[in-house]
Amino acid sequence: MTTQALDLDTLTIEEFGRRLRARDLTAEHVTDACLRRIEEDNPKLNAFILVMADAARQQAREADRELAAGRDRGPLHGVPISIKDLIDVAGTPTTAASRVREGHVAVHDAPVVGALRDAGAIIIGKTNLHEFAFGTTNEDSAFGPARNPHDLSRSPGGSSGGSAASVAAGMALATLGTDTGGSIRIPAAACGLVGLKPRHGELSTDGIVPLSHRLDHVGPLARTVTDAVLVYRALRDRAQNPAKAGSHGRGSPLPGSQAPHAWDAALAGPRLPAPVPVSGLRLAVPRGYFFELLDEDVRARFEEALDRLRAAGARTIDVNIRHASLTAAIYLHLVLADAAAYHAATLERMPERYTPSVRLRLEMGRYVLAEDYTRALEGQEILRREVDSALAGHSALALPALPIPAPLIGSASVQVGSVTEPVRNLMLRETQLFNLTGHPAIALPAGATSAGLPCSVQLVGADTEDLLPVALACEAQITGVLRPRSGGLGG
């Protein structure tokens, strides 16, 4: 059956899809390979909380039978995908990486999981995260920390750390994460992946344990922009937020089509954005706050990425977001109070079941005053208008996704130049603004530090569908494939 070697470290959904339809691979073969990889490497990475081996094999065999019978569900047909364990998968616990959730079993799939199943994806397991998604390193988890496949002594980022590790280590071809302050883009950046946070409210977050309804997003992490687009489109077509239905109507739901048996046919319909020429791009670079605290390697890789884009004809323009330096203060008051409200009853009833650090930060939220929450809401609206203004006339904003490389597990602070900052503040610094404003944002791999740790560029747009072709154009100029097994896992 398999005529070419199967390299799980580089296999994309796109390559898998072509080879599946050329009968060079089967869904069962690739699912088995992912499950073997999990068996081999999960003890080191702790990426998975639950591996759904039997169900995944059964789904894979069914996907192969369907394709043989002429039913092609589209680009995700037979693709093994992992799910952050904050998202309901029917019949399994949604632990949120917390003992607070002991005994929980989801009755229904979250709409985003149902969408993946309808699109033919194989649900391979539930991944580790920072407890209740309330952290950026994945260290505070009832199941222990997940580790970065590029360097096992380092965090994979968070809160979707296990999700990112699962894809970077070849245990799944894509994953679903959530992002309240950067929890898709931060681990994508730390692990050398693409992470897409669509516009706020675009995709349903029903069936997902909330951190802050006003800031929560769900979206994919994958190896390439194309792969992230394919997962995003499957979600958008099938799990659009009902309140937003019709506002992003490009593309339509595709029920299983009959017998295309070719990748191009599986992509029929508006599956991939039309590419845009790099020479037409106008990228706004928000200097100031976002560039004040950057690791020197991260800064160098970002500037090299801009150089390559300019060499290919893109224009870059420095812009100012006037109140950007208030981002963290505004974000803190909103997320703390929202999270405290959700957790108040369990903080009273079973405080000992939280990890100590997450419990303390949730308790902190109970002291936010209403007048300051109202000020933060006003600040959120002002920042939204300022980002809209910065985007006007530009293809996207471009800035780093993470100001430092993946931090060492256990480090509370990191030195950047002459400044020592708490890890948490640094990790959120480049991303949380766009949770406040709701703008779509995507992290792209952009080379590595001298120690071989991934660096990343973040693009922010006005509309998800308009951002994706920009990301495709930039990806072609700036990304390089990093292979964890030649780094952390291969050592």
């Binding site: 109140h323 208030l326 963290a328 203060a329 505004i330 803190l332 008051h333 703390l336 100590p356 303390l360 930060r361 308790e363 902190m364 002291y367 936010v368 005053l369 300051d372 000020r375 933060a376 006003e378 600040g379 002002i382």
Partner: protein, 47 residues
């Protein structure tokens, strides 16, 4: 309520609830609140 009086009350409450570890976190929150209250977009009822 001023930030100082809020912080004192919050720390006293945290200690009463046997959560003295909250003190440095509340002090950090107080610094963030001070920034927020100084922002030029805040309303001024006298203006």
């Amino acid at each position: 309520m001023t930030i100082d009086s809020w912080l004192q009350a919050a720390i006293a409450d945290a200690e009463r609830r046997a959560l003295p570890e909250l003190k440095p976190l509340l002090e950090g929150l107080a610094r963030a609140t001070a920034l927020l209250r100084k922002a030029d977009f805040n309303d001024d009822a006298s203006a």
